[in-house]
C-alpha cells in the first residue's frame, strides 16, 4: 500500500513565517519519505532547537525535538540502540555548527547510517536573527545592528574535514531537486550531510529567494540568471567508485575545491559520496557478531517473571576466591 503525502502530515498548526524556506524543506522531506514508501513508525525525525527544530511536529512519523545543538548525539543513541530505524536529523545552522559544532565534527567520525539536513539560513531564526556560523564576515542582515564580526564556516568543507561520507547541498525552493537529494542522503550507506540554502525572509535580507533566483543578476538580455546551478548538469561526479586511496583523495580534493564556489555561481547537488567506509554499525558488528541481527532494542533482558537473562554468574565466578 503506497504511502500518500497526506499520511505524513500532522494537523499541528505550522507557525513558521509566511514565505519561510523551511516549508520547502518540510515538503521535500515528506515527498521523499512518501516516495520511499517508508513505514511511518519505522522513521524517526530528530531535530535540534530553532525554527527548523519544530519540523518533526509537522511530520507524522516518530519525532524527537531535542536540545539546542545536541540532535546528533540524541539521534546516534537512537540509531545505535535500534539500527533498524530510519533516522533523519534536521536542524539549524546555528544549532549544528555553532553550539553543536563539537558533535558535528565528532559524529562525522562515527559514520552511522543516518542523514542530517541542515537549514542553512545564515541567522539564528528563533532568537530573532543574530548571525549564525554560516553568515559571512562583514555581512549585515537587517536583523543585525552591526556587520557580522565573525568569519563564516563553510559547511561542506567542515563536513568533509569531519569525515562525512556523503556531502551535498540543496536549495529550499527547488523542492523537487531537494527531494531527490534527501532520498540519496537517506539511502546513502553511512552518515550523510545535506546543507540546504534556506531563505529566512524575516531576518536575512541578503541571501533571499530573489538573490538565489538571480533577480538582480541579469544576463545581457536582461533575464535573471539564477545563482544556484546543479552539479550533475555540469558532469561533476562526486561519487567514489573505487576503494583506493588515490580515488578517495581525488574525490575529496575535488569536493573541497568545489565547496569554495559560493555566490554568483553556487553549486547544488552531491559534492562527495563514499560508501566504502564501513559504517559504525558494521564496525560494532565486527566486534559483537549478533549486533545487527539482535541489536540492543531487540534484546530481551528478562523473563516475564523478571528473572534477568544475562549470565553474569560467570563474571562473578572469575572473581570468586574458591
Amino acid at each position: 500500500m503506497a504511502l500518500k503525502l497526506t499520511d505524513l502530515k500532522t494537523n499541528v498548526h505550522n507557525d513558521w513565517c509566511p514565505g519561510c524556506g523551511d516549508f520547502g524543506i518540510l515538503n521535500a522531506v515528506q515527498m521523499a519519505l512518501a516516495e520511499m514508501n517508508v513505514e511511518p513508525s519505522n522513521v524517526v525525525i530528530v531535530s535540534g532547537i530553532g525554527c527548523s527544530g519544530k519540523m518533526p511536529h509537522y511530520i507524522k512519523t516518530y519525532g524527537v525535538h531535542t536540545l539546542h545543538g545536541r540532535l546528533l548525539p540524541f539521534a546516534s543513541g537512537i540509531k545505535i540502540a535500534n539500527p533498524n530505524l530510519e533516522v533523519v536529523c534536521v536542524g539549524g545552522d546555528g544549532d549544528g555548527m555553532g553550539i553543536g559544532a563539537g558533535h558535528f565534527v565528532n559524529s562525522g567520525r562515527r559514520n552511522l547510517d543516518m542523514a542530517y539536513i541542515v537549514h542553512d539560513n545564515g541567522v539564528y531564526g528563533l532568537t530573532k536573527g543574530q548571525a549564525s556560523p554560516t553568515l559571512k564576515l562583514g555581512m549585515k542582515t537587517k536583523s543585525l545592528p552591526k556587520p557580522n564580526i565573525n568569519q563564516a564556516v563553510n559547511p561542506l568543507l567542515l563536513a568533509i574535514a569531519s569525515g562525512y561520507t556523503f556531502v551535498a547541498r540543496g536549495y529550499a525552493y527547488d523542492v523537487r531537486h531537494l527531494k531527490e537529494l534527501i532520498k540519496k542522503a537517506i539511502n546513502h550507506k553511512g552518515f550523510a550531510f545535506l546543507d540546504v540554502l534556506q531563505p529566512c525572509p524575516t531576518y536575512n535580507d541578503i541571501l533571499t529567494k530573489e538573490y538565489w533566483a538571480g533577480e538582480d543578476n541579469l544576463d545581457p538580455s536582461g533575464k535573471p540568471v539564477p545563482r544556484v546551478y546543479k552539479l550533475e548538469e555540469t558532469g561533476y561526479d562526486g561519487v567514489v567508485h573505487e576503494n583506493t586511496e588515490e580515488e578517495i583523495e581525488r574525490k575529496v580534493a575535488q569536493a573541497v575545491l568545489k565547496s569554495f564556489e559560493f555566490g554568483d555561481r553556487t553549486p547544488i547537488g552531491v559534492f562527495y559520496q563514499n560508501e566504502f567506509t564501513p559504517t559504525y554499525e558494521e564496525r560494532l558488528n565486527s566486534r559483537m557478531p549478533t549486533y545487527r541481527t539482535y541489536p540492543p532494542a531487540m534484546q530481551r533482558i528478562a523473563r516475564d517473571d523478571g528473572t534477568p537473562l544475562a549470565k553474569v554468574q560467570k563474571l562473578l565466578d572469575e572473581l570468586s576466591l574458591t
Partner: protein, 648 residues
C-alpha cells in the same frame, strides 16, 4: 601497605597481596591512593586483612612493603611500634631532598622530625627513627635475589628483572608472616593469567625470597597469617567492576561514557565484556525468536564529551533500551541540560556518578562526597529525579540493578551516586546472589503495539499515577513525539497554561508514587540499638568506617546507632523524622565541607542537626579517627563541627 611510584607495579603487587590474603581465607579491605599522574608520582595501597569482617581502613600500618625510597620516607613513621618495614637496602643512602615528587611541606616536616632526633636525611636515617619507635626492619636485597631468578630463566636484563621488585616486596612480607607460599603463587598465577612467563618468573621469585627470609629472619617477626577455613563462597571485588557486572545483569545494553577518573574503569570493563552470554532456555515460547541467538551485547560508546554521553544514553532510553552513562563531577556538570530533557520527556536513563574531590578539576584521584546537593538539583527548572547512594559494594551491586528498575518504572532519570573510595576499593564479599535480582520494566512496551499503522499515540496521557504507557520509539503501529518544550499528551509543543499545570503535576506526581512504592528497606538502613547515646546520620561509603567505629565503641560500652540514607530523593521524610526525633544526640558524618546530607535532612524534617563530623582533605575516613571523634561527642568534649584530617 605497599607503595611505589605510579606505573612501577604498585597496583599489581597490591592486587597480588590482597588476593592471596583473600584466598587464604581472610577478609580483605584494600584502599588505593594515587596522584592524578601517569608515571612517577607516589601511589600506595593500604590493605587491611582480618579474620573478621572489615569495612574500612585504619591509619596505622602494621607492615610496610616498599621497593623505592619515597615509600619509606612517606610512610615509615606511620608504621606502629612492633610493626615491620620491608625495604631495599641498596637504597639506604638515598636522600630525602633528592626525591622530587615529595611535596615541600611534607619534606619540611620530615626534616624537622629527623633533625629533632639528631638524624640526617637519608633513607637510613628515617628507618633509624622508625626503629627507635620499635619498628622491625627487614632489608631484602631484591636485585641480588632477582639475579638468581634471572639465571634460572636465562634473563639477564637488569631492567627486566627490576620489574619484579614489587612482587619481591609482597613475597617478603608474606614470608615474614609465614604465610603459605603456594597460596601466594596461586594468586600470582591468577593476576598474570595472560602472561605465562611473567607468572612463572614471579613465582620463582617468591621461592627465592621465602628461602632467604626463612634463613635470615626466621620467626623474628612475631605475627603469622595461617590459612583460615572459610565456609561461605566469597568474591574479591572492586567497585567499578561491581557496577559493570550489575549493569549487564540489569539489562543495560547501551553504556556511553567520556573518559574520566575514577569512572571510566567501569566502562572499560564493560567494553571488555561487551558480548553478553544469555540464559536462553530452549522451548520457552516467548524466547522463540532468540532460539538461535546465544549472545547479546552491550554497546559501549566513547563519546566526544559528556553532553553527548548523556544525550546519547537518552537516545538509547527512547528506543527502549536500558541505557546509562558513568561519570564524575566535571562530566556530571555537563549533563545538567540533558538530564532536564530526560525529566521533561520521562525518559528512563541511569547516571552512575562517581564522586571525587571537587570543586572544578579538584583532586581527580581523591575521595569526597561533595556532589549530593548538586545531584539533587542538577538542571534548571523542576523535574522529578531519583537519587540513590550506595554505602558498600554489596549495595552498589543491588542498587545498580534497582536504578534501572526505578528509571523504567517511574520513567525518569536516576542518579546513582557512589564515589572514588568505593570505585577503587578491593574487598572480599560473600558471593553476590543473582537470584535476588528482579527486573521491573514498568509499563515499557518494546516490540509490536496492537493498533493501526501510524496512529498518533498519547505517550504522555494523564493517569492516576502520572505514569503513562511507554512504547519505545520505533514501536510498530504507532507514532508520537518528544520535545523539551512543554507538550500535550502526544508530545507536541503546548504553551497552554492549563495543559502546563496538568503536565507539571503529572511529572512530579511520579515522585510521590515512587515514595509510596519503594520499600523502606531500599531507602534506609538502621544499625545498632534503638536507644543510643549518639545517632549517626550518614550516607554513602562512610558506612564502612562508621560500622567499624561503632563496633569499637560498643566494646567500650558506648552505644551508637546509625541511620544510613540510601534513597535521597524522594527523601524518606517520615521515617527519618521519627528516628531523629527520638535521638539523644544526632551526629552527621560526611566526606564534604558543609555536611550536605544534614542540610537536606533539616530541610525535609526541620529537625536541627548541630553536630557534624566532616572530612574534605581528599582521603577517606579511617576507622580510628572516626572512632575518636564519635567518642569525643559521646563524652561531650567535641565542638559542634569536627574536621577529620588523617591520611597522606
Amino acid at each position: 601497605m605497599i607503595g611505589g611510584a605510579q606505573g612501577s607495579g604498585v597496583d599489581t603487587s597490591a592486587n597480588i597481596f590482597a588476593r592471596a590474603a583473600a584466598q587464604g581465607g581472610y577478609h580483605v579491605f584494600g584502599k588505593r591512593e594515587y596522584y592524578s599522574n601517569i608515571k612517577g608520582e607516589h601511589s600506595y595501597f593500604q590493605v587491611r586483612v582480618s579474620s573478621k569482617i572489615i569495612r574500612s581502613h585504619v591509619d596505622t600500618v602494621d607492615m610496610l612493603a616498599s621497593f623505592d625510597e619515597e615509600t619509606v620516607f612517606r610512610h615509615a613513621l606511620e608504621v606502629r611500634p612492633d610493626g615491620a618495614i620491608v625495604y631495599d637496602p641498596d637504597l639506604k643512602m638515598k636522600k630525602l631532598e633528592d626525591v622530587p615528587t615529595i611535596e615541600k611541606n611534607v619534606k619540611e616536616s620530615l626534616v624537622r622530625r629527623l633533625s629533632q632526633s639528631g638524624l640526617g636525611t637519608t633513607m637510613q636515617d628515617i628507618l633509624e627513627l622508625a626503629r627507635k619507635r620499635g619498628v622491625h626492619l627487614y632489608p631484602i636485597p631484591y636485585m641480588d635475589l632477582l639475579k638468581q631468578v634471572g639465571q634460572k630463566f636465562g634473563e639477564s636484563s637488569l631492567s627486566s628483572l627490576s620489574r619484579m621488585t614489587n612482587v619481591m616486596a609482597v613475597a617478603s612480607s608474606y614470608a615474614l608472616l609465614s604465610f603459605d607460599s603456594s597460596i601466594l603463587k596461586d594468586a600470582i598465577m591468577k593476576v598474570f593469567r595472560s602472561k605465562q612467563k611473567v607468572a612463572e618468573m614471579n613465582q620463582a621469585a617468591v621461592d627465592v625470597v621465602y628461602s632467604f627470609v626463612q634463613e635470615k629472619y626466621d620467626g623474628s617477626f612475631g605475627y603469622t597469617l595461617p590459612p583460615i577455613k572459610v565456609n561461605e563462597r566469597r568474591i574479591f571485588m572492586r567497585g567499578n567492576v561491581t557496577v559493570g557486572i550489575a549493569k549487564e545483569l540489569a539489562g543495560c545494553r547501551l553504556q556511553t561514557y567520556y573518559p574520566i577518573t575514577p569512572a571510566s574503569d567501569e566502562s572499560e570493563y564493560l567494553e571488555a565484556h561487551e558480548v553478553i552470554e544469555l540464559d536462553n532456555l530452549p522451548g520457552e515460547p516467548e524466547l522463540a525468536e532468540q532460539q538461535t541467538v546465544k549472545n547479546g551485547s552491550i554497546v559501549v560508546v566513547q563519546t566526544e564529551d559528556e553532553i553527548a554521553a548523556i544525550t546519547m544514553a537518552i537516545g538509547g532510553g527512547l528506543a527502549g533500551v536500558r541505557s546509562s552513562t558513568s561519570t564524575s563531577g566535571p562530566g556530571f556538570s555537563l549533563m545538567a541540560e540533558g538530564l532536564g530533557w530526560a525529566g521533561m520527556n520521562e525518559v528512563p536513563v541511569v547516571v552512575t556518578l562517581y564522586q571525587r574531590a571537587g570543586p572544578s578539576t579538584g583532586m581527580p584521584t581523591r575521595h569526597e562526597q561533595g556532589d549530593l546537593r548538586f545531584a539533587l538539583f542538577t538542571g534548571h527548572g523542576e523535574f522529578p529525579r531519583i537519587v540513590l547512594a550506595s554505602g558498600d559494594l554489596e549495595e552498589v551491586f543491588y542498587d545498580t540493578v534497582r536504578a534501572f528498575n526505578y528509571a523504567e518504572r517511574y520513567q525518569t532519570p536516576v542518579i546513582h551516586i557512589i564515589d572514588k573510595a568505593l570505585a577503587n576499593s578491593d574487598t572480599t564479599l560473600p558471593m553476590l546472589d543473582i537470584a535476588k535480582v528482579k527486573i521491573d520494566r514498568g509499563v515499557t512496551i518494546t516490540g509490536k503495539y496492537e493498533t493501526n499503522n501510524g496512529v498518533e499515540f498519547p505517550r504522555f496521557k494523564q493517569t492516576e499515577t502520572g505514569i503513562s504507557l511507554r512504547p519505545a520509539v520505533g514501536t510498530k503501529g504507532v507514532v508520537y513525539w518528544l520535545t523539551g518544550d512543554e507538550h500535550d499528551e502526544f508530545g507536541h509543543i503546548s504553551e497552554d497554561p492549563t495543559n502546563r499545570v496538568i503536565m507539571m503535576d503529572k511529572r512530579m506526581k511520579k515522585l510521590e508514587v515512587a515514595d509510596r512504592e519503594i520499600p523502606l528497606s531500599e531507602k534506609v538502613n538502621f544499625f545498632g540499638p534503638e536507644e543510643a547515646k549518639i545517632t549517626v546520620l550518614s550516607w554513602g561509603s562512610t558506612k564502612g568506617a562508621i560500622l567499624d567505629a561503632i563496633d569499637w565503641l560498643r566494646e567500650e560500652g558506648i552505644d551508637v546507632n546509625f541511620l544510613q540514607i540510601r534513597l535521597i530523593n524522594p527523601f524518606p521524610t517520615e521515617y527519618v523524622s521519627n528516628v531523629l526525633s527520638r535521638a539523644k544526640k544526632i551526629v552527621d558524618v560526611e566526606m564534604n565541607y558543609s555536611g550536605q546530607l544534614a542540610e537536606v535532612t533539616m530541610e525535609k524534617t526541620c529537625i536541627p542537626i548541630k553536630n557534624k563530623i566532616v572530612k574534605y582533605n581528599g582521603r577517606p575516613m579511617s576507622c580510628e579517627e572516626l572512632y575518636h571523634a564519635l567518642k569525643s561527642f559521646a563524652e561531650g568534649t567535641a565542638p559542634t563541627r569536627v574536621v577529620l584530617t588523617n591520611g597522606s
